[in-house]
């Protein structure tokens, strides 16, 4: 019996923090398309059930397209059972919009709800965590050890309640309860581990990375369960339409934009990034205060090579005050004055010096 465990799809996510409106709209459509592709994958691979361990939607304000895509996807795959555990991002708006609850859509409440699968040897149990039930829910979990149990939860693994009252999962309280697979959601990075000698817990991560804090491979976990033996195999299936990369490039010693470009190029040659992906380049290192650095030029240069490119300048300016010690010019006087300023830190001094030197050199002060 095959099951898909996915979570944190965050459909209808705005995604405008990095992207332009047009690209954000395109990415939203791609998220929906990825969900559709997941359903097709499930159909083609004879998957019996899809467990969505929370945050199917990003916001309570769901667009009609997202709502209809999910609803039609569920209705059109009537042979697949969908276990939808609502996460902290989900609201009732999707369910509220359904004129009739599809037979193949199974929901969970704030107490444990179980659904048998197949001939009843596989049981999917879940509960939607909240500030009220996070602490006291575990004691109510009673599982028949004769059966294969999947337990779905959405929250952060923690041994104590966070201050903000967010949902948390105390793995200690779930040990030795007969759980074979703890299907978790909430953490956007993939992760898994041993729950107890019998079971494992797993975060599949988000289905598609949205921001540069969600770099790396994203997809879902495909479970292949042998109900008779009570065993299962799991496989992570990379499924994201695009990947996000954050690449740090040390440009120390570069005196010109061209030097920086060469440094970036070398980095990309070493670890290539496909054109369909999103890339964030973070420039690091120390640059001489008199060095020339034009980020606009660099973006113009590299942007066409990727779906999206962002360059962050996290370099530090380096000032060799010795060079200006004997400089009997206005520039030398200026640098010495700034150097002597006590109310500025070194980076502020460097910034002021760079700004002044650029201006005195006839360039636009940065």
């Amino acid at each position: 019996m095959k099951l898909i465990h996915c979570a944190d799809l965050h459909l209808d996510s705005k995604m405008t923090s990095n992207l332009t409106k047009e690209k954000a709209r395109e990415r939203r459509a791609e998220l929906l398309h990825t969900f559709d592709r997941l359903l097709d994958y499930a159909e083609e691979n004879r998957v019996e059930a899809v467990i969505i361990a929370g945050d199917l939607f990003d916001t309570k304000n769901i667009s009609a397209t997202a709502r209809n895509t999910v609803r039609d996807g569920i209705l059109n795959h009537s042979d697949i059972t969908f276990f939808y555990l609502r996460g902290n991002h989900d609201a009732d708006s999707f369910l509220g919009s359904l004129e009739e609850m599809p037979d193949n859509l199974k929901l969970f409440g704030d107490s444990w709800t179980s659904y048998p699968l197949g001939d009843g040897k596989v049981i999917v149990t879940g509960a939607e965590l909240g500030p009220e039930n996070s602490a006291g829910l575990y004691n109510d979990l009673m599982l028949d050890r004769e059966k294969f149990h999947i337990v779905a939860l959405h929250g952060q693994i923690s041994e104590k309640a966070p201050r903000d009252g967010a949902e948390y999962i105390d793995l200690r309280k779930l040990k030795n309860r007969g759980i074979d697979y703890l299907a978790l959601g909430h953490v956007h990075a993939r992760g898994e581990g041993e729950l107890d000698p019998r079971g494992r817990y797993c975060y599949p991560g988000c289905l598609e990375g949205r921001g540069f804090d969600e770099c790396g491979e994203h997809g879902f976990v495909l479970l292949d369960i042998d109900p008779e033996a009570g065993t299962f195999r799991r496989e992570f299936v990379p499924f994201a339409h695009r990947r996000l990369y954050a690449r740090q490039v040390d440009v120390s010693g570069c005196m010109t934009t061209r030097d920086i470009e060469d440094r970036i190029r070398k980095s990309l040659e070493k670890e290539p990034v496909s054109p369909e992906n999103l890339l964030k380049i973070v420039l690091t290192g120390n640059i001489d205060v008199s060095g020339e650095k034009n980020l606009d030029f660099l973006i113009k240069k590299f942007d066409p090579e990727f779906y999206f490119l962002k360059i962050y300048d996290e370099t530090s300016l380096e000032v060799d005050y010795r060079l200006f010690a004997q400089d009997q010019s206005l520039k030398g006087e200026f640098v010495r004055l700034v150097e002597a300023a006590e109310d500025l830190d070194s980076q502020q001094k460097a910034a002021v010096i760079r700004c002044g030197l650029l201006a005195l050199a006839g360039e636009e002060p940065e």
């Binding site: 304000n61 708006s93 509220g96 400089d327 006087e333 700004c355 002060p365």
Partner: protein
């Protein structure tokens, strides 16, 4: 560096002017208007070119200002010495800069040199034109000075890197401009605008907080509705299950009842069939045979009726016996009676005829008279009729004859007249008189005819009409054959028609006369032959002949008739026939009436009576025969039907036809019962085949939960209604939710924009602060940088000030920006607050102090264009003394207009 000489070709008012310069002070004292300032300007222009080239003001635009008054080549030469080398600069000026010519030659070789370009002044002094004007060129009324960037740079003697200090003012302006552009305090500042936009977004977001609350409320409402919907659906499901169970039970119950009904029906049909079959003791009657018997039995009533009808009554039987006896020898057929009746009629006719032909006495008398009169010959009626016709015709012709004659005479006269006229006149007119005469006669004839007819004389009227017609025909003939009024008829033919017509009329008249005469003669002979009186008077004769003829005709006719009757009455054969007929009839009748002596007059009545009796006899005979046949048929039919009934094992009843119908009815009833039985059986078997009878007969599970189906249905309807309403509410709420979500999206976008804007604002603010800080540091650096050479300048300034005024140079102060202040009564005062003489004094001193600082190695020449004009006598002395001292170190070109200012 020093000037050697100059030659002006044409420059302003100066023309072909040459001047040599010595080392030290070169004084040129000329009257006002000689062109001293023009000479000074010439030297400057030869080194730096023109300034204010683009100005339309001719005073400012030097190219225009110094255009040669008298025309000629615009320009000149200037020889100078620097670095031990002498050069000659030659310039000529056109209307525009591009028309200018420049050349530099080394005096030693007189070859063109590239040691300096056309910016020779800037290259020599490392100063731009403005800085030159502010330092070594002290013009009249412009003794003041200010340190330009170039001056500062020059003063700083930082020849290896003077770009930054040169650019300081630009940089400072750039910073100021940027700071102003970004200023958070100015409305045009980008930070101000960002802040405003942030405020607007914050305000919008504050205003939109209600949207989230509304969405929450709406979602809550939808949630409640959905919860209710869910509960209702669960109840609906439960009720539907109950409904289904009850329905299933009711189905089985209905089936059971149906099956039981089928069984009951089957049993009833079976019993009914048996009962129906019991009516027939034997075999079931064959339907066709029964129908045939019924058809035949239809004849029973007819037969009985026939027997009843044809049965002879007692009277008829007696009468039949009597007639039997009458016609013992046979009853003559109808034809015999018809024949005898005809014979009797003939006899009667003959007897009548005989009686009619008998003449009366009068008639016999008149017959005898006739015989006497017509003893010779009996005239034929046709003959008499001919005579009458001739006489009538004769009378008519007589009547017309007169007219004809008149006409003839008239025509004849006309013809003669025409013939005579024709000989005299043109042939064309020859027919006209005859025509007019014809028309006249025609008209007169018709007029006469009309009068006669009106007068009751039709015959003469007709004749007159005929005459008119003849005249008319004649006229037509004339028109046709003679041309009438025609023109082509020739004279040779003109007499012929008139002659023919007249001849014809003559012939007719003659014929009429002959006829009349013959008729009168013949009629008279006829009268004489038969003794009819011929009147002597012609008038009586004319009027009486016809009457006599008609009377005679009547006599002849009567005579003929009477003669015929007399002949008929005297025929024997006729009598014999009467006798034969009478005897035949007597014989015939006598056979039936032997005892009666029948008279001829009784024959017809007797015959008629006998005929009636014979008819009666035949009718009774026929009736009796029919009765016999009806009786036989009825008996036979009854027997057949009885036999049929008996074959069915039944006792024939009196009313056989009724019995047969009853049998048919019962048979039909039996057959219907049979069909119903079969149907019932088949239905039961079909039910048993389609349903599990055993199951149906078993008690139904949940049979006790019959519930109130009506109540359940009612509740289901209520739930469906409520669900529909909820659906409607949820749909409406969802629509509202969509709308609110759009607002929420817009708010979300606003929030994102706000966040971005805040980030941008923070970044911009940081940059703003950076720019401000940088500018401040640059300003400090500039001050610090320049303050380092203000000391030597102040020293130099003090030296010159003391030299010029003899006053304590300690009062003179110079700041880092090279602004001069004077310590006056404990306050540093700017020079602009002093008198014009002092200002010039300070300016000259400052200039020379700057020149000292700027040109520490090769000293330049200094031009003084009457700078002491504003000085009083004491200060003028000092000024001239200063000039001598400067001349010791610099080449001085001193231009003045007054001898008093010459040292």
């Amino acid at each position: 560096m020093r000037l050697v000489s100059c030659h002006i070709e044409n420059f302003g008012k100066l023309k072909d002017f040459s001047l040599s310069f010595e080392e030290g002070v070169n004084t040129l004292c000329r009257d006002n208007g000689w062109g001293k300032s023009t000479l000074a300007a010439f030297i400057k222009v030869m080194l730096f070119g023109f300034e204010e080239e683009k100005s339309r003001d001719e005073l400012k635009n030097e190219r225009k200002r110094y255009r040669p008054w008298q025309g000629g080549v615009y320009g000149g030469r200037l020889e100078f010495e620097t670095g031990g080398e002498r050069y000659e600069v030659a310039r000529t000026f056109g209307a525009k800069e591009k028309e200018d010519c420049f050349s530099l030659r080394k005096k030693a070789t007189n070859l063109e040199s590239r040691d300096y370009s056309d910016a020779v002044g800037q290259e020599l002094f490392s100063l731009d034109r403005a800085s030159f004007a502010r330092t070594v060129f002290v013009s009249q009324n412009d003794c003041g000075t200010a340190a330009t960037d170039a001056v500062s740079a020059k003063i700083g003697n930082l020849a290896e890197d003077t770009e930054d200090i040169n650019r300081y003012e630009d940089v400072n302006q750039k910073f100021l401009s940027l700071i102003n552009q970004m200023s958070p305090a100015r409305r045009t500042g980008s930070l101000y605008r960002q802040k405003e936009e942030i405020g607007r977004l914050e305000e919008r977001i504050r205003g939109g907080r209600g949207v989230d609350r509304a969405i929450e409320e709406l979602l809550g409402r939808i949630h409640d509705k959905l919860a209710e919907q869910q509960a209702l659906k669960e109840e609906q499901t439960e009720l539907l299950e109950r409904q289904r169970r009850i329905g299933a039970w009711k189905d089985i119950q209905a089936k059971r009842e149906a099956y039981e009904a089928l069984c009951r029906e089957y049993q009833e049909r079976e019993e009914s069939l048996k009962a129906e079959r019991g009516y027939f003791p034997g075999e079931l009657p064959d339907r066709s045979r029964l129908e045939q018997a019924i058809t035949e039995s239809g004849g029973l009533s007819g037969g009985s009726e026939a027997v009843r009808i044809f049965r002879l009554s007692q009277e008829e039987a007696v009468r039949s016996g009597e007639l039997e006896r009458l016609f013992a020898q046979g009853c003559p057929p109808q034809e015999t009676f018809q024949e005898k009746e005809e014979l009797a009629l003939q006899l009667q006719d003959m007897r009548g005829t005989l009686a009619a032909e008998q003449l009366s006495a009068g008639e016999a008398q008149r017959l005898e008279a006739g015989k006497a009169r017509f003893s010779d010959k009996v005239p034929m009626l046709q003959e008499v009729d001919q005579v009458i016709a001739d006489w009538s015709s004769c009378a008519e012709r007589k009547n017309v004859l007169g007219q004809k004659k008149l006409t003839y005479e008239a025509l004849r006269g006309i013809a003669q007249t025409g013939a005579n006229g024709g000989g005299r006149k043109n042939g064309r007119k020859s027919a006209r008189p005859a025509l007019w005469a014809g028309l006249l006669v025609c008209g007169a004839a018709f007029l006469l005819a009309g009068i006669l007819i009106m007068a009751g004389q039709p015959a003469p009227g007709a004749i007159a009409g005929a005459l008119g017609a003849v005249a008319g025909v004649y006229c037509i003939w004339l028109l046709m054959h003679k041309g009438g009024f025609g023109e082509k008829r020739e004279e040779t033919q003109r007499d012929l028609p008139e002659n023919d017509s007249l001849r014809q009329m003559e012939e007719e008249i003659r014929e009429d006369q002959e006829f009349i005469e013959n008729t009168v003669r013949n009629t008279e002979a006829f009268f004489a032959r038969y003794g009819i009186v011929w009147e002597a008077s012609p008038w009586d004769r004319e009027n009486g002949v016809l009457g006599s003829l008609y009377s005679f005709k009547a006599e002849v006719r009567e005579y003929i008739t009477l003669s015929e009757r007399e002949r008929n009455a005297q025929t024997d054969r006729f009598n014999e026939l009467c006798l034969q007929a009478s005897e035949e009839l007597k014989r015939f009748l006598g056979a039936y009436y032997p005892e009666e002596d029948l008279k001829e007059a009784q024959y017809a009545a007797k015959l008629n009576r006998l005929k009636e009796l014979a008819g009666e006899y035949r009718a009774l005979k026929e009736k009796g025969e029919r009765f016999r046949r009806a009786e036989e048929g009825l008996s036979s039919l009854q027997k057949r039907i009885r036999d049929f009934v008996e074959t069915l094992g039944m006792e024939p009843e009196e009313d056989l036809a009724g019995q047969l119908l009853r049998i048919q009815e019962r048979l039909l009833s039996y057959e219907n019962s049979r069909k119903e039985y079969e149907i019932s059986r088949q239905r039961r078997e079909a039910f048993e085949a389609s349903e599990n009878v055993e199951e149906i007969r078993k008690p139904c599970p949940g049979e006790e939960d019959t519930g109130d189906l009506q109540e359940i249905n009612q509740r289901l309807e209520e739930i469906a209604d409520r669900l529909e309403r909820i659906y409607g509410y949820v749909s409406e709420d969802n629509r509202q939710l969509d709308s609110l979500r759009e607002e929420a999206d817009a708010l979300s976008e606003d929030r994102e924009n706000l966040e971005k804007l805040r980030e941008e604002y923070a970044g911009e603010s940081q940059r703003y602060e950076l720019l401000k800080t940088t500018r401040e540091f640059l300003e400090q650096a500039k001050i610090s940088f320049t303050s380092r050479y203000t000391g030597p300048i102040r020293e130099s300034l003090g030296k010159y000030y003391e030299m010029l005024t003899g006053e304590d140079p300690g009062r003179i102060l110079v700041d880092a920006n090279l602004n001069v202040t004077i310590d006056e009564q404990g306050m540093q005062r700017e020079t602009r607050f002093f008198s014009a003489g002092y200002r010039d004094l300070f300016g000259i001193c400052m200039r020379m102090a700057l020149v000292d600082a700027m040109y520490q190695e090769e000293k330049p020449f200094v031009i003084f264009d009457d700078p002491f004009a504003n000085l009083d006598g004491e200060k003028l002395k000092g000024g001239l003394k200063l000039l001598q001292r400067i001349g010791e170190e610099y080449q001085v070109i001193y231009l003045t207009c007054h001898e008093s200012r010459v040292g």
